[in-house]
């Protein structure tokens, strides 16, 4: 992916662009850039079309994979005559992913969604199947038949960080991380930056568990963080493991993906709520109509990602204070403006400089106060 192919636009800018480009206003998708040199793939009759989804976890996780499965159900509802939909759960981050996606191609898939960035393992298949449209969630590469999509989760995360700043007594926040990857850097940084607007001394301890779905490891990490003095847990897990720990230990927790407050009603603060349904329906529609081109999509807050309704124990004034920040962001304000220093004190974003959506998406360093991520 050459950087020249990407137009760095402000959040507001790209919303305008997608509207101007004729995108339905019901689908406020942030389209950073689309269309490479190659023309769109030819149209496919709905009765002939095969759509494939590869998931990182089980669709019963009530979180990330469940949400993408809802997207597939929405596609089936919108296009009831589809010949087949293929869905594989627990696609590992290994050469088995390549085998799975090759099998999708063998089954005649016209469009394949990889809901968890399997990178090269997917790209090997993309190159061998030029007639198939591929979309990689949290991907980073753009090819003639491969685009990517993700969410601007850093905004609702920042909002929840503000709430954490109010709620945490010790100022020690804990984070259950999957891998030291861009989405985790963006998530940890945004969360602490939000918290520090309230408590400038707040810190964030991170534990990396090398998985997106490992309830046992997430539970252990949550326990260790609380033992270390954290009284607010956040993380980027596909399931509710550490919420149950927080409930049992009487500390706060914020989550990802869906409303899972019933696993810890007292501890629950909010979630990064995700919704890919409209996006998937739009993408499949374009593929069928023969207008799909590989694009880079970051769904904005309010258009695919948001914070969940505040938990029952979150004081009203805390929710209100955080929501004021949310309103400001929805109005076009960005909290991600320099001067920002990394954990070694080096200035990474100059004073007054605003980080672009792509910079936020590709964040690969920790802000001062975040510990535990290798950089």
């Amino acid at each position: 992916m050459s950087m020249n192919s990407i137009r760095n636009l402000s959040r507001r800018g790209f919303l305008n662009m997608s509207a101007a480009a004729g995108s339905s206003l019901l689908l406020p998708q942030g389209i950073l850039s689309s269309a490479l040199a190659a023309g769109p793939l030819p149209a496919v009759a709905e009765e002939e079309a095969v759509i494939g989804f590869g998931h990182v976890g089980p669709i019963t996780d009530e979180g990330w994979t469940w949400s993408h499965h809802q997207g597939l159900l929405a596609v089936k509802e919108a296009f009831p005559k589809l010949k087949t939909t293929l869905e594989v759960e627990n696609v590992p981050y290994s050469a088995d992913a390549t085998r799975t996606y090759r099998q999708f191609v063998s089954e005649g898939a016209n469009m394949i969604f990889d809901t968890s960035s399997t990178g090269d393992f997917l790209h090997q298949v993309v190159k061998r199947a030029p007639e198939v449209a591929f979309m990689e969630c949290n991907g980073h590469a753009l090819m003639d038949n491969l685009g990517w999509y993700y969410l601007a989760h850093w905004y609702p995360t920042y909002v929840m960080g503000v709430a954490a700043g109010h709620l945490s007594k010790t100022g020690q926040l804990g984070y259950v991380a999957s891998f030291p990857v861009a989405s985790v850097y963006a998530s940890t940084n945004a969360f602490l930056m939000g918290a520090r607007t309230v408590n400038p001394d707040a810190t964030l301890q991170t534990i990396v568990i090398n998985s997106w779905f490992d309830p046992q490891a997430a539970t252990q990490a949550g326990t260790a963080l609380i033992d270390n003095g954290c009284d607010f847990l956040f993380g980027i897990m596909d399931e509710a493991g550490y919420l149950q720990v927080a409930e049992k230990r009487g500390v706060w927790a914020a989550m990802w993906n869906t409303d899972i407050r019933r696993y810890g009603p007292n501890a629950y603060v909010s979630s990064v709520i995700i919704d890919f349904k409209d996006f998937y329906v739009d993408q499949v529609g374009k593929r069928l109509a023969g207008t799909w081109t590989p694009g880079e999509h970051i769904l904005p807050m309010g258009g695919g990602v948001d914070r969940d309704k505040w938990g029952q124990n979150v004081p009203e004034e805390v929710g209100k204070a955080a929501d004021e920040v949310r309103e400001k962001i929805l109005g076009g304000w960005s909290p991600f403006v320099g001067e920002l220093k990394d954990k070694d004190g080096k200035v990474r974003v100059e004073a007054g400089q605003k980080m672009t959506e792509l910079e936020l998406y590709n964040w690969d360093w920790s802000v001062d106060g975040v510990s535990g991520l290798e950089s």
Binding site: S94, A95, D96, Q103, V105, D120, P180
Partner: protein, 349 residues
């Protein structure tokens, strides 16, 4: 009147019966799986046909099998070789990672590319695997520490070491890959689709090891050590020396599997690359009854089973069912193997 039948255990199993038991195990497992699938509301015959056409009916399917078979033959061979000298190498998984790790170090940090680097990576992979089994080997040879435990425990160390370097100091900083090293500069070239030269190397190694064991004096001595260490010692065979050499060879072969997987198939070092090949190698070796030539066939069978698993998943079966079928086949095979030591005799009244 029925009491006159009795089971008799034979000193050695009958090869024909063992083979028949294997076939029966697979057929029974598939029948049971078919009934389960039918109960789940799907048509097992359609699914079976689907698996066969997808595996053998297209270049894509055959290529997938060709790639999958490489690490399975090699880890199976690693376990089978150790069995020849009477040792259980449960650590092929760790040696696989250690080999991949060492080969990656060459690929990332030694400048240049081409055949020379590839040779270096191959040697490094083998050395990495051998180094990973060195301590368990010496502990077994000099202190009689059970290698089952030591080789197994080192698997976790190697797995976590690879996770650490690929998400830490060696990680790709270009933003193009999650939790993996940058791509290696040198690849094992492919000769048919995605099937690379690891395929003939794996088969060649199995044949070579089998030939050395069968036809050389050294091989004869090793087999003697494996079947009767006391007799071997009495005959003046250097038992300890042979044990060390064969266990290091076993680790080295598993290391080569890791090197080929990295340089031929995956191209980046990262956690999870092994796909449990090290553990599956134990199954491959058991199915082959420890025969180095046999692992070529049991490795192929295992590749077919694993690939069928992927095909069945795209047909809507969950991973758990596929794993259960795989486990069931192996379970029945193990029973069949044991049964092949018995025969039913009828006593004269």
């Amino acid at each position: 009147m029925f009491g006159s039948y009795r089971l008799q255990r034979l000193p050695s199993s009958h090869a024909g019966i063992a083979l028949a038991a294997r076939v029966a195990a697979i057929v029974i497992a598939l029948l049971v799986a078919g009934i389960g699938i039918a109960l789940a509301g799907m048509n097992p015959l359609n699914l079976g046909a689907r698996v066969i056409t997808a595996s053998f009916g297209s270049a894509f399917g055959m290529e997938d099998l060709g790639v999958l078979i490489i690490p399975l033959i090699l880890t199976g061979l690693a376990v089978a070789v150790a069995q020849q000298v009477g040792a259980w190498n449960i650590g092929a998984e760790g040696q696989f990672y250690a080999g991949a790790f060492a080969a990656t170090a060459i690929g990332l940090f030694v400048p240049g590319e081409g055949p020379l680097i590839l040779m270096l990576m191959f040697v490094a992979g083998m050395a990495g695997g051998a180094a990973w089994i060195l301590v368990p080997t010496l502990a077994r040879a000099y202190a009689n520490v059970n290698e089952l435990i030591t080789t197994l425990l080192l698997n976790f160390v190697a797995t976590l070491l690879v996770y650490y370097v690929s998400t830490g100091p060696w990680r790709d900083r270009s933003g193009m890959a999650n939790s993996a090293t940058p791509p290696l500069s040198t690849d094992v070239p492919s000769f048919w689709g995605i099937v690379h030269w690891g395929f003939p190397i794996a088969i060649g190694l199995a044949v070579l090891v089998a030939a050395v064991l069968a036809f050389s004096r050294w091989g004869y001595e090793v087999r003697l050590v494996g079947s009767n260490p006391s007799a071997a010692k009495y005959a003046g065979i250097p038992v300890r020396k042979h044990l060390i050499a064969v266990m290091l060879l076993s680790g080295g072969i598993a290391g080569i599997a890791g090197m080929l997987e990295i340089a031929g198939t995956v191209h980046r070092l990262q956690g999870g690359i092994s796909n449990n090949f090290g553990y599956l190698g134990i199954m491959v070796a058991v199915l082959a009854r420890g025969s180095p030539i046999g692992v070529i066939f049991s490795g192929a069978l295992m590749a077919l089973i694993l690939n069928s698993g992927i095909i069945l998943q795209t047909q809507g079966l969950t991973t758990s069912i596929v794993l259960a079928i795989t486990g069931f086949i192996l379970f029945l095979t193990a029973i069949g193997d044991e049964l092949s030591y018995y025969r039913i005799t009828r006593e004269k009244a």
